[in-house]
Symmetry: C2
Subunit: 347 residues, 2 copies
DNA sequence: GTGAAAGCGCTAACAT
DNA sequence: ATGTTAGCGCTTTCAC
């Protein structure tokens, strides 16, 4: 089966290729009459332009890359929806790359997209990433990058984050208000900026309430559920176990609840729990989980909007502007006694 | 900044472009010595091949499209992981397109990927899709397609599904075994083949147990949570409300639980619930949810494997083979009294 | 308003 | 083993 090209259209219409090309892109130098004829023939023959020929020539591909750790995570899934909404609107294609929290994969992916395949990048770092040479190399190519959520330090470009420090401070304060004396902070990385911010908020709240803090109050988990479950089991089986947990990672909520079930620890009676999480099912868990809910859709949407604006203007490199979209705390029964009405706290 | 091309490499090395090209692709007609020199220079100048030039010339792009309804859904998120694992392994890129259950979007997307941008398609239909002309057009172009989960009838190509009929029969039987006399079946579409299969299993189980069935026992929901909640509220507020629900869609579990909370209906006391769902949090809900869990990762993985096999062989069109990977039923407290141990049922 | 011609960067015949 | 040449399909000067 013969693929229909501009050349074929031109022959059928007894026009030159350039005229057909211009007509298809609605150039003002082509008469309306000719445009109509060309469009009609294109429709009739079901002509579809070859995107690679076009990209090669124009040095732009109408494609962006989204590089994220996971897709089976409510935050990133919702962020993708936000990105996709803008992309479909602007006629862009979205290549999705998953690092699975692996630094090596991230490096390989970043290297792989440096060759002109894409016009821009939306990215959230892997939890393992502590060196940034691969990203500096990417930025140096002049490829527009917008980091969202897990941003990269030291690269002068646009970022979209939420108010991690304030949210974490507020969540910790809430645990303290609920009577917690010993709160452990859970993370999956020590290096991510976002972890640092959340940790800082947590520590400041402790300090402001004259509560002690020791490095042992930070539990660093991995991207491995079995391993995390055993870490958390160890933590909660101790005689001097904490009476509050602040998890900076959505996926750890599952581990915490599972372990508490196994140990017959009651939430919130013996342990109060707050989790940074966008889980749809948070209100339906046993007990309903108090969450810091991030504006995932909006963050993806905003990041994409910034990127497309830069692409449109043809800016080489992006302004160093940082959007911050606030999170919301949803107070539920994992921190307060049964019967307390649900409260939503702006941050 | 000058992008490094084969031409530049050739000039620096005082070789011809074709020699460099062949050396880079490790052709046997090039001496080891030359290969080494070329590779060294390529590394030194940080040469990256232009994928569009290559795609244009070779008429293959090392890119596949994944067309699915949603990404914020455990089944599809896990399926993507399965697909991505194979794609990364084979060096393919993955374009993700979301239909959001809209037929119009699906048509637009399918049209958009028909132009040689991609080498193959993995697809799961939108719930609105009832006409298949756009997909026949796609198939006619000779583009390899593998349908998974929500397959398209009438297109002779490979498919990957789970044992929907058997799973649904077994789940219904389980509800009946738990004492249900009036079971309502929830779906988001009447047209999807998969819905039909699940409905068939449900009806057969009713018949085999001499239970009546009326069309009113099917509740067709939409892609709109507020609307679904009100539909389900209407269903459960009736005096002759059902005593069992079989939901063929993951996202409806949230609605069912939310409505039951509002109506103070106890699960499983007054209503027993089974849901086709891959939710990680199913065991942690109040009460733990009995699910039919689909092999999402394996289905994505298998679909991708079949596609890549076809791409490798250069088969025009795919064999009409259908893989079926069984689901598992996880019996939890939404169907059985508290205290009953968790049971896993092979299907 | 239309056409001729060059070239994006790469690959694959076909020489040598 | 290396080089010459043509061309993938499209866009874009530049000429008429």
């Amino acid at each position: 089966m013969q693929t229909v090209t501009i050349k074929i259209l031109a022959e059928k219409l007894k026009l030159s290729r350039s005229t057909v090309s211009k007509a298809l892109s609605d150039s003002h130098e082509i008469s309306q009459d000719t445009k109509n004829r060309v469009l009609a023939m294109a429709a009739k023959l079901d002509y579809a332009p070859n995107p690679y020929a076009s990209s090669l020539r124009k040095k732009s591909s109408k494609t962006i890359a989204v590089v994220i750790p996971e897709v089976a995570d409510s935050f990133f899934a919702q962020a993708i929806n936000g990105i996709e909404a803008v992309a479909q609107d602007k006629g862009y294609h979205v290549l999705i790359y998953l690092t699975h929290e692996s630094f090596l994969r991230e490096k390989a992916i970043v290297k792989d997209i440096q060759n002109g395949r894409i016009d821009g990048v939306l990215m959230s770092l892997s939890s393992e990433t502590t060196s940034f040479a691969h990203l500096h190399a990417l930025a140096k190519k002049g490829l527009p990058i917008v980091f969202f959520d897990r941003v990269c330090p030291g690269i002068p470009t646009a970022t979209v984050t939420t108010n991690d420090y304030a949210a974490s401070y507020r969540a910790t304060q809430h645990l303290i208000d609920c009577g917690c004396k010993k709160i452990v902070f859970l993370a999956i990385s020590k290096s991510l900026l976002i972890t640092g911010e959340r940790l800082r908020g947590y520590q400041q709240a402790l300090t402001d309430n004259a509560l002690p803090f020791t490095p042992a109050d930070i539990l660093v988990c991995k991207n491995d559920m079995a391993h995390n479950n055993s870490l958390i089991t160890k933590l909660l089986a101790k005689p001097n176990r904490p009476d509050g947990l602040l998890s900076s990672v959505e996926k750890l909520a599952t581990s915490i609840y599972t372990v508490c079930n196994q140990l017959h620890l009651s939430i919130p009676g013996q342990l109060k729990v707050v989790c940074f999480s966008n889980l749809q099912t948070a209100p339906l868990l046993q007990p309903p989980l108090t969450t810091v809910t991030q504006p995932a859709f909006a963050m993806g949407n905003t990041a994409a909007t910034i990127l497309f604006k830069a692409l449109k203007k043809g800016t080489i490199g992006l302004k160093n502007d940082s959007e911050v979209i606030p999170s919301i705390m949803m107070v539920r029964n994992s921190t307060e006694a049964i019967g307390t009405p649900f409260t939503e706290v702006a941050l």
